[in-house]
Amino acid sequence: MKLYSLSILHKGATKANLLKAAYDLSSFSFFQRSSIQEFMTFTSALIVERTTQGSRASVKEQDLYKLIKKSIMHDDCIKEYLCHVYVRNDNLSAVVIADTEYPQRVCFTLLDKVLEEFSRQVDSIDWPSGNPETINYKALDIHLSKYQNPREADAMTKVQAELDETKIILHNTMESLLERGEKLDDLVSKSEHLGNQSKAFYKTARKQNSCCEIM
């Protein structure tokens, strides 16, 4: 699983304004990288424009990609991407483009974290008009590279993953434990069989009151 880009934008009235971006294009061939980067920048802005204030979304990029399907890339480079976007109530937004394997929850955690840090470091007055050169925020690259491994970066993912593993082990152990001993289905059918065809013990006396009892 991989993260490809991480960008911070400001959602303006009509347009989204890119404030800072970080890219990891090491998985693409050298010659394609610049066009891909452009493409991702464009997509990020587009998504922010389309996302309402105060919401999060995950957009399967294939649809968007079809719109822009000029021969920027060769067909064999077509991959599936997911864009995760978070537009805050104050219009500060972040977009991370990842592959489909990357867990969604971690992305949103990342976006929350990045935006919070950014909003503390960079004055809100600079948001509507800033651009990557003017904005003084250096941590984006670090975050992008750190979060390439979601487990390490995100404590909760790590614990959740271990938990899920443990649950599976527990379930398997329980199953094998319950296998031992008599099969319950056998017991259910055996006991039903016992319940049926039980001839009553009384009224076996065939001769009743057949002779007078002399008192």
Partner: protein, 600 residues
Amino acid sequence: MASHLSYGRVNLNILREAARKELREFLDKCAGSKAIVWDEYLTGPFGLIAQYSLLKEHEVEKMFTLKSGRLPSADVKNIIFFVRPRLELMDIIAENVFSEDKMHLSRDFHILFVPRRSMLCEQRLKELGVLGSFINIDEYILDLIPYDGDLLSMEYESAFRECYLENDQTSLYHTAKGLMTLQALYGTIPQIYGKGECARHVANMMLRMKREFAGSQNQILPVFDTLLLLDRNVDLLTPLATQLTYEGLIDEIYGITNGYVKLPPEKFAQKKQGEASKDLPTEPKKLQLNSAEELYAEIRDKNFNAVGAALSKKAKIISAAFEERHNAKTVGEIKQFVSQLPHMQAARSSLANHTSIAELIKDITTSEAFFDNLTVEQEFMTGVDTDKVNTYIEDCIAQKDPLIKILRLVCMQSVCNNGLKQKVLDHYKREILQTYGYEHMLTLNNLEKAGLLKPQMSSRNNYPTIRKTLKLWMEDANEQNPNDISYVYSGYAPLSIRLTQVLARPGWRSIEEVLKMLPGPHFEERQQLPAGLHKKRQQGENRTTLVFFLGGVSYAEIAALRFLSQMEDSGMEYIIATTKLLNGTTWIKSLMDRPESQAP
């Protein structure tokens, strides 16, 4: 702590703890490491009081069975003999002691007589020259042993025989002593009712013993309101009939001793997936049966025909509980499920065991032989042709069916007919002796002496009157949802239990006539309680009656009493005590004699 003893209204654990305490005190008297040499007969009852772990706590390192010859070697300071006061055992002990001297090991010897010391035995030891070798000679008064929360037994096998054949009232003395111990722990019993000669003797002894202790007043708030003493010979019919409760049938077919049953192992082999059934266990499967096992407590007293449905229901409940594991998604839920797992595993294992046992029993109860036998029993109980030679019995003798089966049937016919016509009796006797051997003459004599198989004295047969007045035969007994105690024999209400039932309500005055037809006096006694100990009865609170069967009681009768206890409007709870837990087979066996054997 035996949890199943605390369930009932009366906490019998107190009795058990008292017994354990005494045992501990004795063991501590013999300081140092010990080895116990057991009279085999005692290991069973003792197992109900103390396990090996308790003995180990008091430095018991080895245990041996009492055998003649040399004692096995053991590196212990003390050798303690746990024995009944019987002369033949004294001889064996003497042998053991003499063999020791030769080994020049300095060990201390002690004897613990259970349940009483005996001058005769000590005299014997003196004659053999070993009395001086014993440092501690004590008695361990083990009379009534708690078998379950509502059941006490002395496991005194020969009580009936001693009382009715040999005119030996030792067992009655022990009974009275046991009742005094009980009163010391649970308070003086204010009301005593009884029916029968032996009952009268026991009551007299109790009153006398109470007078002897006149100085010390018992300050315990009485737990028991009433004591009912019943002679076995007031109701000779019930033990002869084949029991039809689950526990009763287990006892009839496999025998329950000291709360354990040994079963053929084949059905209990763990079947693994796909494995052929090789390596079948050869050891009989031993199971403990008491009310600590939830499922067993539910089904033990049911008529056997209702057990299948109960097991089926339980199987579905357990199955559903196991399926719950698929609903456990969160870790919290899984944790909760897992914590229930041991209980569920135990429930499943219990279900598997009892399903197997029920299958084993069903094989027998659905056999033609069983039904034919039951038919004849029911014919006798309803008074059909009890004055003629019964052709089924004749056929069985001709086929050389087990002798005890024959004896049960002929005795039943005799009891239901108030003795057999001389011609009929002679016919049976002849057939039996010619088929099974003349040595059984002694047994037949014993049965006559006990009143089980006797010639008709007067032409009057009281049994039909008793049956009608006390409603001993109930048509259409409901086996699944019983409303009367007659379900335990699918139609026949045990006479002993009916008497108990009537005593509670409306009282024995209403059946004076019938009581006179039954052997032995009936009486009522009151014991004074110290001032201030009279129980104030709360509204709706049940009274507690201790019913003591002198001569033995069957599991079906116990089931019937439990049924009475849980009836809505009975207002009474019953605790059962007896000299011995028996069934028709073990009872007749105790009366059998062979010419060459000594009296048991």
